[in-house]
Amino acid sequence: MSDITAIEQEALAAIAAAGDLAALDAVRVAELGKKGRVSGLMGALGKMSPEERKAQGPLLNTLKTRVDEAIRVRKAALEAAELEARLVTERVDLTLPPAPGPGEGALHPVMQVFEEIAAIFGDMGFTVAEGPDIEDDWHNFTALNFPLGHPARETHDTFFMKAMEGDTPKVLRTHTSPVQVRTMMEEKPPIRILVPGRVYRNDWDATHTPMFHQVEGLVIEKGIHMGHLKGCLIDFVKAFFEVDTVVSRFRPHFFPFTEPSAEMDVKYSRKGDAIEIGEGDRWMEILGCGMVHPNVLRNCGIDPDVHQGFAFGMGVDRLAMLKYGMPDLRPYFEADPQWTRHYGFSPWLTPSVSGGLS
């Protein structure tokens, strides 16, 4: 009895004293190995009388279990200490820079604003239509009720191509309105389209670039009147500038392809360098619009006594400027990385009416 107690104390002391896994394993072999001391005692059980065995059996089993457990615990402790010691040697300097990736790029504000505008009008049921930049005179002017020689043509500062269409040179479209014509000639009403695109005018100074961007809208449906035009554009301006109130006014104007025609102004205020659209003491013109001229409908094979609708057009570069505060138009087309990183947008920002525009 005292034998077993002494063996246990001895074994536990040896386990506690084992300084590494090898020493611990030597203790395990010495006690629990095939020829180990405890194994030997267990082996001797078979030679005992039943009474003796009954008395010694549980004691020896307890001894074996305790030694086994002590080894397991010690082993875990030694392993943990060893791992810790190893990890200390594996330390790296994480203040060092990682291998350079390409970094994050940026989206151009004009292209982003195109998408913002499309998201808003998409929510009103418009679909996106497109057309060519090199147009013939008929689509750019004549079909839109600019007869040959009309002084309104001169206001467009048209770029003429060396290419001809019959007797007249082709042009770089001066507005996105030719896509109205192309759409109306191909589709039957009801029509609700939004036309983004590049347009061109021969003018280059602080506020004009020879290429710029427009978005055109066209709605041809029975019963659509100028009140809808007004409502639609007021709804748009509020959504676009992300403000609750936009004080606006519609002024009569002249465009050959609409009758009646109007320009829309919004109120704004200047706070330092920033422009705040919506309220304020000044007016700013932001777009042109009107009811589609009956001559244009006829030119496109639509009966103006049956169908009617409205159209509008706006300069995207300027809208982007007003919303995001770029002070100058000229860098838009210079592809300057500093400018693009500063005014551009993250690729993960997809404008939507439900998820937010900007």
Partner: protein, 797 residues
């Protein structure tokens, strides 16, 4: 165009304030650009009295004045020679901005030669109210100290600057504006029809019309014994306010009537005329020395005025020097004609002359004003220049409009949503001088002769809507279209959006560059054609429609490099032009990298190269649902690529989807770009559009139950064999089982014969049922045979 407010009162009886007038102009459709109110500009300036002017003790030319001002008695040092005791002048307190000098006075008194000056007395040039700079303003008359300068100087008339839209030439005269303002509710319009003046003798100058299509009507009269001195002050003031410099009575009268009635006239010195005055077409070889001092060649398309000496004017555009009036003119012949708008516009464009006459004639001048304008001119000249007028001579006539406009009053509500009572519609139309025949549902309207833009019911609707006011329009949100919303973009448009996001996510900055480039640069990107040249480019380096976006991007990248950027990554999603037809435009996504040596402490930053460009392109294709291995890699199809380090992606022999790799060093040199530059250009139009499947439900997942089997094979091939060929032939050996073939090693050198290379591939098999070793071995043998047959490659021992 500009006019002063008091001028408007000639034609309009109104109590409206300046602000009311401006609001009503806006309502009518006249876009006011600027209002110059001299009362505002002169607000800080007031009348003062010089109590005493003594010589300055230390300066001969200066005087020390004691001045009674609105701010009390002040000491002012003045350099004007006319400063004297007792005079009435204009005082500017300290700190005032002096418009004519374009600076503000100091806020603290300044010592001039030792004597403090507490303000300033101004000359008319300093106030921009006149040109006099010889002395300070010396007011005559009894003005109290403190009277506003504007009042004392009679400068109380605001000038309104506004824009006239091309459809309203009648607004190029103050009378026309008054008419619309009256209709908008500003007051009562005064017609002011000129009285017909009966001359005492027949006009001795004969008028002949030889080109009725160009000049169908010409009214003229002679006045003898005129004194062509300065025009009256009121007329000069109005002309100046409108931005015109007064010249002489005869010239000023024509300019005045042009501004007052939108009626251009011309005056000839009758003594310099020889023979009849003829309106005819020009003849080749003729010339005119015009009033602007330049000589213009005449063409057969132009309408000219001629006498027996030759051409003396370009009809409706500009008169000539040889018959111009001068201070010595005593006999004047007045022309009041009507010129065809289109021909006038062509002559104007051909000569480049921008005259007030051209501006009006090409937009349309009221035909009825031919005789009225003549009578008005005669009356003004007789009144201010004297003389005896002949009977008017009128050659030709302008056909009077007989076609009425049919107007349906219901269209007002149909097109605008406005509900307007018929009586109100009639009131507006009458104010605008329409003649109305009310036939119930339709009204037959005769527009006034000065309106050229009235054809149909919608035109009338606009007149009514604008004069009711667009602020009265209902505001109605657009109802959703029948059937609800639709997908708003086409598949190609959606691809542009995805492409832009993929590129930006891969570190590229989005550029929007000109659709133009220099033709000499465009040549580097393929054969150019005249049709794509811009006939009137804004700059010579922007004279051609670009066949590729890469030229502009490469130049932008170089600009960025010059500003110190290291690796520049740019992309553009935009158009290129393969021809001038409506279907010749393509949308491309072009990516371009100008790499810089990037260093890293681990030393493993791989430089951007043609393979990196391929990786970016293939990532983009994968995002567009078009994995790159679906295409064949072939030689580049465009001349701007490095012949050995670039390739094209094709779908069949004719359809090229993209080119990628290194740009040609020669092209870069011509563009002034320091390469190497790596790029790709993907033509989104060439990319197949996947058919929309009938169901959105995905097929059931067929999970691979067995682990894939991977085997390595190395082949010896001729060095010229493309690795892609080995992959392709390996893959085609067993299409069902092989899911992937990857090249993991390419080796040339020791152990490989000269002119050969070793290409090692890893083949992945995905069996559906367990394969025995012999079966796998058979597949490997088929692969070896296929590669051998296709490339001549042999398994490396």
């Amino acid at each position: 165009m500009r006019f002063s407010l008091s001028w408007l009162n000639d034609h309009l009886v109104t109590k409206a304030s300046l602000q009311n007038i401006l609001d009503l102009m806006l309502k009518a459709g006249l876009e006011v650009e600027e209002v110059i109110d001299p009362r505002e500009k002169l607000a800080p300036f007031t009348v003062c009295k010089v109590i005493e002017a003594k010589p300055h003790p230390d300066a001969d030319k200066l005087r020390v004045c004691t001045v009674e001002t609105i701010d009390g008695t002040k000491q002012i040092v003045c350099g004007a020679p006319n400063a004297r005791t007792g005079m009435t002048a204009i005082y500017a307190p300290l700190g005032t901005f002096i418009p004519g000098l374009d600076f503000a006075l100091d806020k603290k008194p300044r010592a001039i030669r030792g004597i403090e000056s507490h303000g300033m007395m101004c000359s008319s040039r300093e106030l921009e109210t006149g040109d006099d700079h010889d002395g300070i303003i010396d007011l005559q008359g009894d003005f109290k100290v403190g009277t506003p300068a504007a009042e004392a100087l009679g400068q109380t008339d605001p000038v309104i600057d506004f824009e006239v839209t091309p459809n309203r030439p009648d607004w190029l005269g103050v009378q026309g504006i008054a008419r619309d303002l009256a209709a908008a509710g500003a007051g009562r319009f005064l017609r002011n029809d000129p009285k017909k003046i009966n001359g005492s003798y027949d006009c001795p100058v004969d008028i002949k019309l030889e080109a009725a299509e160009a000049c169908p009507m010409f009214a003229g009269a002679l006045i003898r014994g005129v004194t062509n001195g300065p025009s009256p002050d009121w007329m000069q003031a109005r002309l100046k306010a409108a931005g015109l410099q007064p010249k002489s009575l005869l010239v000023d009268v024509t300019n005045y009537i042009s501004l007052d009635r939108a009626r251009p006239l011309h005056v000839y010195d009758a003594a310099k005329l020889s023979g009849a005055v003829v309106a005819r077409l020009g003849k080749a070889g003729e010339k005119l020395e015009a009033l602007d001092g330049k000589t213009y060649p005449v063409t057969e398309d132009m309408c000219v005025i001629a006498d027996s000496s030759g051409v003396i004017g370009l009809g409706g555009v500009m008169g000539g020097v040889s018959t111009a009036v001068s201070a010595e003119t005593t006999d004047v012949f007045i022309e009041s004609a009507w010129f065809d708008p289109l021909r006038t516009a062509r002559t104007g464009r051909a000569t480049g002359i921008h005259s007030d006459a051209r501006y009006r004639f090409e937009r349309g001048v009221d035909p009825q004003s031919c005789v009225d304008g003549l009578n008005l001119a005669i009356a003004l000249i007789l009144e201010y220049g004297g003389g005896q007028v002949s009977k008017a001579k009128i050659a030709g006539s302008i056909p009077i409009r007989t076609k009425k406009v049919t107007f349906y009053p219901v269209d007002v509500e149909r097109l605008t949503g406005l509900i307007v009572k018929p009586a109100e519609m009639k009131r507006i139309l009458k104010d605008l001088e329409f003649d109305i025949e009310d036939a119930g549902d339709a009204w037959y309207l005769m527009p006034p002769s000065h309106r050229f833009d009235m054809e149909q019911s919608a035109d009338i609707v606009e007149e009514i809507a604008r004069l009711i006011g667009f602020d009265q329009l209902p505001t109605t949100s657009l109802p959703l279209p029948e059937g609800g919303r639709r997908v708003i973009t086409t598949p190609r448009q959606a691809r542009v959006a995805i492409s832009r996001r993929v590129m930006a996510a891969r570190g590229f900055l989005e550029a929007v560059t000109w659709s133009f480039m220099a033709r000499e640069h465009a040549e580097l990107f393929g054969k150019t054609e005249d049709a794509l040249g811009v006939a009137n480019p804004v700059a010579s380096e922007l004279n051609y429609m670009r066949p590729s976006a890469l030229g502009n991007l490469a130049q932008a990248a170089q600009r960025a490099r010059n500003r110190g950027e290291r690796t520049v990554r740019l992309f553009e999603a935009g158009p290129i032009y393969l021809g001038d037809g409506p279907k010749d435009q393509r949308t491309v996504v072009a990516g371009l990298v100008l790499p810089a040596a990037e260093r890293h402490w681990q030393g493993r930053a791989a430089p951007y190269d043609a393979y990196a460009a391929k990786a970016d392109l293939f990532a983009l294709l994968a995002a567009l649902g078009q994995p790159g291995d679906r295409f064949q890699v072939a030689a580049p199809t465009q001349p701007h690529w490095h012949p050995g380090q670039a390739a094209s992606l094709k779908l069949g022999p004719k359809m090229t989807v993209a080119n990628f790799g290194a740009l040609h060093p020669g092209v870069l040199k011509a563009l002034d770009v320091e390469g190497p530059v790596y790029a790709f250009e993907l033509n989104l139009n060439a990319l197949p559009v996947m058919k929309v499947k009938a169901t959105k439900t995905r097929p059931v997942l067929e999970r691979a139950e067995l682990t894939p089997i991977r085997r390595d094979l190395a082949f010896l091939v001729d060095a010229g064999v493309a690795a892609g060929e080995i992959v392709r032939h390996a893959q085609s050996a067993e299409k069902q089982l092989i899911t992937c073939v990857d090249v993991f090693d390419v080796y040339q050198g020791q152990g490989v014969a000269e002119g050969k290379k070793s290409v090692a591939i890893e083949v992945t098999l995905q069996p559906k049922e367990a394969l025995k070793d012999e079966q796998i071995q058979q597949v490997m043998e088929r692969i070896v045979a296929s590669v051998a047959k296709g490339t001549g490659g042999v398994l490396r021992g």
